[in-house]
Amino acid sequence: MKPVFTKTAGLTDKPTHYCPGCTHGVIHRLTAEVLEELSLIGQTVGVASVGCSVLAYDYFNCDMTQAAHGRAPAVATGLKRALSDDKIVFTYQGDGDLASIGIGEIIHAAARNENITVIFVNNAIYGMTGGQMAPTTLSGQKTATTPEGRSPESEGSPIRVAEMLATLDGPRYIERVSVHDQKHMLQAKKALKRAFKAQKDLAGFTFVELLSTCPTNWGLSPQDSLNWLSLHLSAAYPPGVYKNTLDREVQ
């Protein structure tokens, strides 16, 4: 009998530690499937960051290094510059890592048009440390450090990273996607594929922001989390292509 589904070779057999309903697992799988479909697993080196996905090096079935908090784009720069052009380098970063402590590194890696792919998982909260405010936390959103809800007067307003990076001349491809239902998951996969394909073709900096859930720290059930994502997070962070200067054949 012909199997109708097999687990992607891009992931190891290790069970993930993610909470029920967290969409990190989905994003891992989409990334891994893309690497497999592009036949890139054996030539890829990933960079895990600090946050819930710190153990990503146990899950991706490729060589992985682990970066200090926020520094993944710098580590990826060093890796990419040291490796031959046929090697693929990606970072996998959360919103605290990328948009707060690592905002300098991501901006400059983008400005240099480093030929790397950045996977930015935005769930508007710090997960690993217990639900504190992230730079992407929505106005009014309650977190451990904004118990009355994030107030623009005292905590500032959310940072829209995709839009911000798109103002730079460096990056080649920037898209924001969501994973709250199957249709969006497929769109997300398409975006990831375009990004990795572009890197393989030496195009330059590619960035995919994926809106993601955090049921545990949002205080919602997995299903309610997906609803909240589609209703509120997608509204504050509209999915779409923010920059695309790739050649037609890459697209």
Partner: protein
């Protein structure tokens, strides 16, 4: 062999290239900036990689990335920037990655000034960042020795899979003197990192990871024990020091780096006036050459420590000698550089207190 008149900072750059380092990540800061500029010019000529990073923090993490791929990588800075690199150095130590970090030290604390200083000794020799780790620290005192110790730094980094610090200062970075590069016709032999470096599985081996994370306490303790074993081995095998006038000296001055040059001038001057004094010059600051000091304990009742700091290396000197040796100190701070006359006066003053043997 051609003698070249070169600036200290540039000597480090050329020495690194000749030691097989083709990946450099830097950030401008006085008094090391010439090194960054030198690499920007030279590395592309050699087919290497130069990146001017957005910060010291980014630069050390670029080194971390390049080192993960198994290549010889280096970054350089001066004191305030060296502080910023400590996070990355701790990660390099934890992940056991080889790298060389240059500190062309200047006056502190804080922004301090840009004049030569040795006040980063504690930071350099005690790990500097968080966690139980050390980095080998080498302190050249001439530009020729800078060439040798830059190569040695890469050797130590490779052999022991550890970040290594080359500690100089603004004086050695800015001065010029003639140097000779012993150009070898064969490529530099570097350690093979085939067993751990990340270059993609090629579909023929299991995936590897480079990390300093170990959530399990017993696992992390085991990892630390392994690190400590390595440090013990380095401590036993890699101590380096030079002793001047060991045969007939009644007592010793001790100093490292640029101050050792000035101290050597002063020691020679004092000897010409009949003072039987010698000089102990640590070359490796970590591991500290305790064996050199303890071996000289029998000969000397006094050691005069001269540093451009409030007294940092003096702690290591005291730990290396028994209580019969009186350890005295002369230091300048804040970028003030003692001149030979000044140290000569201190030697003469202290010589009065030294009983003749």
């Amino acid at each position: 062999m051609t003698k070249l008149l070169m600036k200290g900072n540039e000597v480090i750059g050329e020495a690194a290239i000749q030691a097989g380092c083709y990946h450099f990540f830097g950030y401008p800061i006085t008094p090391q900036s010439e090194l960054v500029a030198y690499m920007a010019k030279r590395l592309p000529e050699e087919g290497g990689t130069f990146v001017q990073a957005e910060s010291e923090v980014a630069a050390i993490n670029m080194v971390y990335g390049a080192a993960s791929a198994g290549v010889r990588a280096m970054t350089s800075s001066s004191s305030p920037g060296f502080s910023l690199k400590q996070e990355g150095i701790s990660y390099l130590a934890g992940a056991e990655l080889p790298a060389v970090i240059v500190n062309v030290a200047r006056g502190g604390p804080g922004l301090g000034n840009i004049q030569p200083a040795q006040s980063d000794y504690f930071q350099a020799t005690r790990g500097g960042g968080h966690g139980d780790y050390y980095t080998p620290v080498l302190a050249p005192f001439t530009l020729q020795e800078t060439i040798e110790l830059t190569a040695e730094a890469f050797r130590l980094a490779d052999v022991y899979r550890t970040p290594v610090v080359l500690l100089t200062d603004g004086l050695l970075g800015q001065m010029m003197e003639p140097v000779v590069f012993q150009q070898s016709s064969t490529p530099v032999q570097t350690e093979s990192h085939n067993d751990w470096a990340l270059q993609g599985t090629g579909g023929i081996r299991a995936p590897r990871s480079v990390t300093s994370l170990e959530l399990n306490a017993s696992g992390l303790e085991k990892r630390n024990l392994k690190l400590q074993e390595k440090y013990q081995l380095i401590n036993q095998s890699e101590q380096q020091a030079d002793v001047y006038f060991a045969e007939d000296a009644d007592w010793f001055v001790t100093a490292y780096g640029s101050v050792a040059r000035t101290a050597l001038s002063a020691v020679k001057h004092a000897r010409s006036e009949g003072v039987n004094v010698g000089l102990i010059r640590p070359v490796s600051l970590w591991p500290f050459p305790t064996e050199t000091y303890s071996a000289l304990c029998e000969k000397t009742d006094q050691i005069l420590v001269v540093e451009m700091s409030a007294g940092q290396m003096i702690d290591d000197v005291k730990l290396s000698v028994n209580s019969s040796v009186e350890v005295v100190f002369y230091g300048r701070m804040g970028g003030a550089v003692p001149d030979p006359e000044e140290i000569f006066d201190v030697i003469i003053e202290n010589a009065k207190g030294v009983p003749k043997k």
